[in-house]
């Protein structure tokens, strides 16, 4: 028989990691909270609270996020640059802060100043090409070229670091 304390214990011990995974996958704090709540809600309706492991909980979050993204309208999926391939997130250490720090370092030290600005404005601030071109006084085609160059540089550097 499940105990309320089992659910609470699981919740308190695993919430932060589950929420961080969902938030990184969905880039949306509120949607991430809902996904985590849904996972625990499914435990409430069962007798499994004593049996589940953190690995199980993370898998449930990962699958919930993936299905949420997959069921989104495709225009939104491509516009928001959601992770297109779940296999990337299957490693137990994903989201890996080391990889994220590495990406940040590449942006800071391996890109030109203009390229760095464009990447930051697009991916950190979520601005459109039109907004970026207007703020920086460059054409939208130049914005595209900077983004392409920036992503290819990041991709190649990550690959070379293995």
């Amino acid at each position: 028989m499940k105990e309320k304390s089992d659910i609470e214990r699981l919740f308190r011990e695993n919430y932060a990691a589950m929420y961080n995974l969902a938030a990184r996958m969905l880039c949306d704090d509120e949607a991430a909270k809902d996904i985590v709540h849904d996972v625990f809600a499914s435990l409430v309706a069962s007798d499994m609270a004593k049996e589940v492991t953190p690995v199980y909980l993370m898998k449930a979050v990962r699958n919930g996020c993936y299905n949420k993204v997959r069921n989104m309208e495709i225009h939104r999926r491509i516009h928001t640059s959601y992770l297109a391939d779940l296999s990337m997130t299957e490693a137990e250490d994903w989201p890996d802060p080391v990889v994220f720090s590495e990406i940040d370092a590449i942006i800071e030290h391996s890109l030109t100043e203009q390229c760095r600005r464009v990447i930051r404005m697009r991916y950190t601030e979520g601005r459109s090409y039109k907004e970026i071109s207007s703020i920086l006084g460059i054409s939208e085609k130049s914005v595209y070229l900077h983004l392409r160059k920036g992503l290819e540089t990041i991709q190649n550097k990550i690959k070379s670091h293995g």
Binding site: Y15, A41, A45, V52, K59, Y82, M88, E90, Y123, I154
Partner: protein, 216 residues
Amino acid sequence: MDKLHLLFDAMNKPGSHTDSELHTLLHDPDLQDILKTAGTLKASTYKPSEPDIDEEWDRFRLRYDIKKCTFIHFMKRHTAAAIAVGAFSLCAIGAAVSISLTSERNANAMVTAATSTSELMDDADAAIAAKSPTDTVYVKANEGETVVFEESTLDEIMEALSRHYGVTVRYKDPHKRNIRIHFNWNKGMTLRETAELLNSFNQLSIHIKDNTIIIE
């Protein structure tokens, strides 16, 4: 315009491309690396707010009260009996009405969710059907015992579970057979654990009874 240029254009102005074009771009093998990099970059730059676990636990308790959920589940299956019991005392009537209202609200919410999900699934199924012939039962077995079902139908997944656990499968709603999900199945998990993992998908409600997987 090369494929990469087309992809960047689609990321900027997805509305200027058809669904079919976007599906093609998303699944183009030559674009997977850049899509992964863009996704990882997006995830790396996103800064989640710091969660307040006490507050979230309180929100969870209010949203999915444990006793209430259990009782609603009971009420769904034994409505007539619960109403009869409720008639025995004013207090019990009050409780039954209160729970019934909650249950009805939840049921309405479920109907709404199911409608929108089925609409999404219709779109997704149409798109997937037009996409490629590679969406078979599963694509790979990992190093351990994990089987990855990529956009497989529930029917395909259930067939594998049925073979592995030696159980039968019964659908109360035959339409559920065609739901497509991405599911990582660790074959070391018990049938109950697997069922619970599947239950974490909103559109699924799965129970185990007498060596049978029942899908509602």
